[in-house]
Subunit: 233 residues, 2 copies
Amino acid sequence: MEANQGHLSRQSGPTDFLARLSSADARDLVAASQRKLFAKNEFIFKAGDPGRHVYFLQQGRVKICQPAQEGKDVILWFCFAGDMFGMAEVARGGGRVVHAQACEASEVLVLSQTELTDYLKTHSAAALLIMQILADRLRALGDVVVNLINDDAQTRIIKLILRLATRYGVRVDQDIHLNVQLTHQEIADMVGTTRQTVTSVLSQLQRQGLMRLENRRIRIESMELLDGMTNPT
Amino acid sequence: MEANQGHLSRQSGPTDFLARLSSADARDLVAASQRKLFAKNEFIFKAGDPGRHVYFLQQGRVKICQPAQEGKDVILWFCFAGDMFGMAEVARGGGRVVHAQACEASEVLVLSQTELTDYLKTHSAAALLIMQILADRLRALGDVVVNLINDDAQTRIIKLILRLATRYGVRVDQDIHLNVQLTHQEIADMVGTTRQTVTSVLSQLQRQGLMRLENRRIRIESMELLDGMTNPT
DNA sequence: TTCCGAATGTCGGCTGGCCGACAGACAGAG
DNA sequence: CTCTGTCTGTCGGCCAGCCGACATTCGGAA
């Protein structure tokens, strides 16, 4: 019954895997999976580990990070409650190429590769949904590539903020509140720049009155003005 | 019968979609699709077009290119005979975000989104294969991101050459022949640098005896030495 | 074979932001 | 409340490669 409690207490969002399945399909998937807890900063898996399970995040936040052979690791994305992760290596075989680390205490449903394959044989809607999610991530990474090539660091940071705000922002009065705590280093690792540059850009945006930071949470005062800064005149 | 002739005349490769399905699954897919020819430089689809078909390249070469709002378009990858493309927008819905352009006269099998959805309901092995391919592409793009952030332009160019050689190279005596004609601009658009920088790097690699160009085709004289140049001492 | 558009070779000025470093602030654990 | 590890703020030297430009070469169509 614990798995179902986790299911019921979770907030539903647009990337919420289980909520986008039919009740029967979701029930079958939950029944086939196991619930696991991870402490803050604990690795759910690391690059090099066998890729034998897929995960559905019920509560918490998980950072998906691709290490470089030499150089800076790159944060590819964060997973929030409802998100699926760990699917790519399960689908393509081979070991993990990314780390998945809990940014806060997190609860996940875990499904083994074998169980998943069996499940998908009789649940074609779920297979289509997985394809959608993989395709969404392809698009997101394609955008990251194009931005890395074409945009300066400030533009990349602003675009990241806008993306996060669009996806996870909450309107409070005139502002958009982004209730995710991100360090400057994390922002840097997402847009491929240095922590010092992020610090400098955020400081500038705050001086210009476009946003402010409260306890490492971003408060956007004008999405329109911010967006305007990403387009050349 | 023409569709089947195309099928039989194609060379089989590791990314070859149809060859990796069972005969029955492949036959059903071919039966549901239509054959189309595209002339060199013709667009199969462009960014902004509706994403209503998925394509299986039978012959030829197709460039998948993501345009930037402002700035340089980025070549995400080339598709070769056997490759599937156009799946992402079919899976996730919405219009195309990339262009697909034939680099040479090309023949494709075309399957509509509706037919694909129906097909996948009764062919779960194909759904798994599509998931694999999408996951492979995710990995490829993840690597591109990490390389853009961490590597200098020379390293990125060398890594691209090694990747292409590993995938599409043919051993001839001591050399590896890459039988794909690539302009310096195309290489630049794949690794996010300028044409001039590519010219300069390739010139240097040739002077060092690591590779040579014949009719715009790369001939690698030492994979090991090239690979050694991508790791710092 | 000829011709021409595209591709390649070359050059040097300029700059965004990396880098290493250090000091001060602060969030959160105990 | 205290303490400490992490995070943020600041600084200035340095350089990879972008950029614009122009000349030469070359592949492929006619």
